[in-house]
């Protein structure tokens, strides 16, 4: 495959991780707490696609979105609401534990070998062949990702709830004092997080149809790294960070020889370490607002 082909694939994976970053970044933006169990929302969405394998595609997609939103809201109610006001570290540990627990549940219910999601596999057909190797799924991913980001920006900057959400993300306490209905804002963040998790589940399983219990954790690990790399304080930067991590991971995978692919995570994380040491506040955070050095 040519460099153009590798670039196209890298953009494709970048969009997926950009969506993972949105999924994590929305909740973090509002609550300043990380939801490590968001990966399991994606995993359950992917399993729902397998469970609805006999239904029409549109129904499967709608069920997947519904399942992810519902799961996201359940996590909000049973974990985040009781832990409101707890330290970010407490929530991190609790959601880390929840992620492991749910991974165990997936193993018990769905087995360790994984389940195949055969949906929209025709999207893997090539649009432009030869050295480019552009597939329909890449175009669909870019289109879906672009539309979703555009809608999100429209909501955040053009709607009543969007203004409240941005105000809450900036200063939770003051937003509450001036009368913003915080519970509504938080719920909406979890709903959007659920929808973006469903997008990831759908787009990812078209390309990689085997859903295993570790799918969610693997996606969230790199996605979360991406949000920090971009600058977790701002959703746009976090999303761009997710994209960069997905892009770099894909490009490194293309560059290194087949027998060294086992070292791909190591190389990706080395890239992240170097970038964060050079730009501790995030790759896309302006230089002036660097982190405080004690």
């Amino acid at each position: 495959m040519s460099w153009i082909g590798h670039l196209v694939n890298a953009v494709s994976l970048g969009v997926v991780y950009g969506l993972v970053a949105v999924s994590v970044g929305l909740v973090f933006g509002v609550l300043r707490q990380v939801n490590l169990a968001q990966g399991e929302v994606i995993a359950l969405g992917a399993y729902s696609l397998w469970m609805t394998r006999d239904l029409p595609v549109v129904v499967r997609i709608l069920v997947c979105i519904g399942v992810c939103v519902a799961m996201s809201l359940v996590i909000q109610v049973i974990i985040f609401r009781p832990l409101r006001g707890a330290s970010a570290l407490t929530t991190l540990i609790v959601t880390f534990g929840l992620s492991y627990a749910l991974e165990g549940v997936w193993t018990i219910v769905f087995g360790t070998n994984g389940q195949p999601v055969s949906m929209l596999s025709s999207l893997n057909q090539v649009v432009v062949g030869g050295n480019v190797g552009l597939r329909w799924i890449t175009l669909v991913e870019m289109g879906v990702g672009g539309i979703f980001f555009a809608l999100l920006v429209l909501v955040l900057y053009g709607s009543k709830i969007g203004v409240m959400m941005r105000a809450t993300a900036e200063d939770f306490r003051t937003a509450r004092i001036v009368g913003v209905r915080i519970d509504r804002v938080v719920t909406l963040a979890f709903v959007f997080g659920g929808v973006s998790a469903a997008m990831v589940a759908i787009l990812f399983t078209v390309q990689t149809p085997l859903v295993t219990p570790t799918l969610g954790f693997n996606l969230i690990t790199l996605g979360l790294v991406g949000t920090v790399l971009g600058g977790i304080d701002r959703l746009g930067r976090a999303t761009a960070g997710g994209f960069v991590v997905g892009f770099v991971n894909s490009m490194l995978g293309a560059i290194i020889p087949q027998e060294l692919l086992v070292f791909l995570p190591m190389l990706t994380f080395m890239f992240v370490i170097v970038m964060l040491v050079v730009r501790p506040a995030g790759l896309f955070t302006p230089k002036g607002s660097n982190v405080e050095r004690v």
Binding site: S159, K160, V163, M164, R166, A167, E170, D171, T174, A175, R176, I177, V178, G179, V180, R181, I182
Partner: protein
């Protein structure tokens, strides 16, 4: 309950102030911090459309009283009523929804939002539609000559202009009662006239009952219909601005004996 709290409950029995509609009332309010009485049997009220100044030396209890009214500080004894409704134990954000707004000493604006969005938010947060909030913000920004910077992030504005935006945000919420917490703090002397005009505009625009706190006594006296003076957590004096200027107890509390002598000398024929 601590000994001090017991004492405060005993004292509270005698002191009450009539509650009424169109009135924000705090009645027999006592607050204690670490065994020290920050407020002691304070009665305070503001009617809708009235401007009440609240002054007193450092540590007199002005900010504590404002925090009691807005729900940031819990009372040990006493009550707070808004238009006849008991709001003593209501959280600040619930009071905001009932029409009790406040500004903050340091603005507490959303620096990443534009000037327009900050003002719109004041209205949006109290259930005004986006369209109406937008037209309200446009009107208020035009009145304050802030149209040119309407789409600029508020962080780029001077401290003085940020205070004006803060006032506009509070007015956008169409408050029934509006508390100004040291609006002149940190402003250069030259900006006070402008701020005074903005607050006068806010008083007329909102028609709300206003409580104004500031260390700058002249600033408060010039804007207030009625002034309440606190000292050591108690009401030291109450009256019109002119009465307060001539009050021996008030002058003594602020300036000591020398101030009283000067006052006497100025009143001598």
């Amino acid at each position: 309950m601590s000994h001090l709290a017991d004492e405060l409950v005993q004292d509270a029995r005698a002191t009450t102030i009539p509650v009424a509609t169109d009135r924000l009332v705090c009645s027999g309010v006592s607050v204690a911090f670490a065994g020290v009485r920050a407020l002691d049997q304070v009665n305070f009220s503001v009617n809708r459309g009235e401007v009440v100044g609240l002054i007193g030396p450092n540590g007199a209890g002005k900010t504590t009283l404002l925090n009691v009214l807005t729900g940031f500080t819990e009372v040990v004894t006493g009550s707070v009523h808004l238009d006849g409704r008991d709001i003593t134990h209501l959280a600040p954000h619930r009071r905001a929804r009932l029409g009790l707004e406040r500004t903050f000493q340091h603005g507490r604006l959303f620096s990443g939002l534009t000037v327009r969005e900050n003002v719109e938010l004041g209205a949006i947060a109290v259930r005004v539609s986006k369209r109406k909030a937008r037209s309200t913000a446009a009107r208020l920004l035009a009145a304050l000559d802030l149209e040119k910077v309407a789409d600029v992030p508020v962080a780029q504005l001077s401290h003085g202009d940020q205070q004006h935006v803060s006032v506009a945000r509070a007015v956008a919420a169409a408050p029934r009662y509006l508390m100004f917490d040291e609006p002149a703090a940190g402003l250069p002397e030259g900006s006070l006239t402008q701020l005074g005009l903005v607050i006068e505009w806010a008083i007329k625009e909102s028609g709300a009952g206003i409580v104004l706190i500031d260390h700058n006594v002249d600033f408060v006296l010039n804007l207030s219909d009625r002034v309440v003076v606190l000292d050591y957590g108690k009401v030291l004096a109450e009256g019109s601005s002119d009465e307060i200027r001539q009050n021996v107890n008030v002058v003594s509390a602020y300036l000591g004996e020398a101030g009283v002598e000067n006052l006497a000398a100025s009143q001598a024929p």
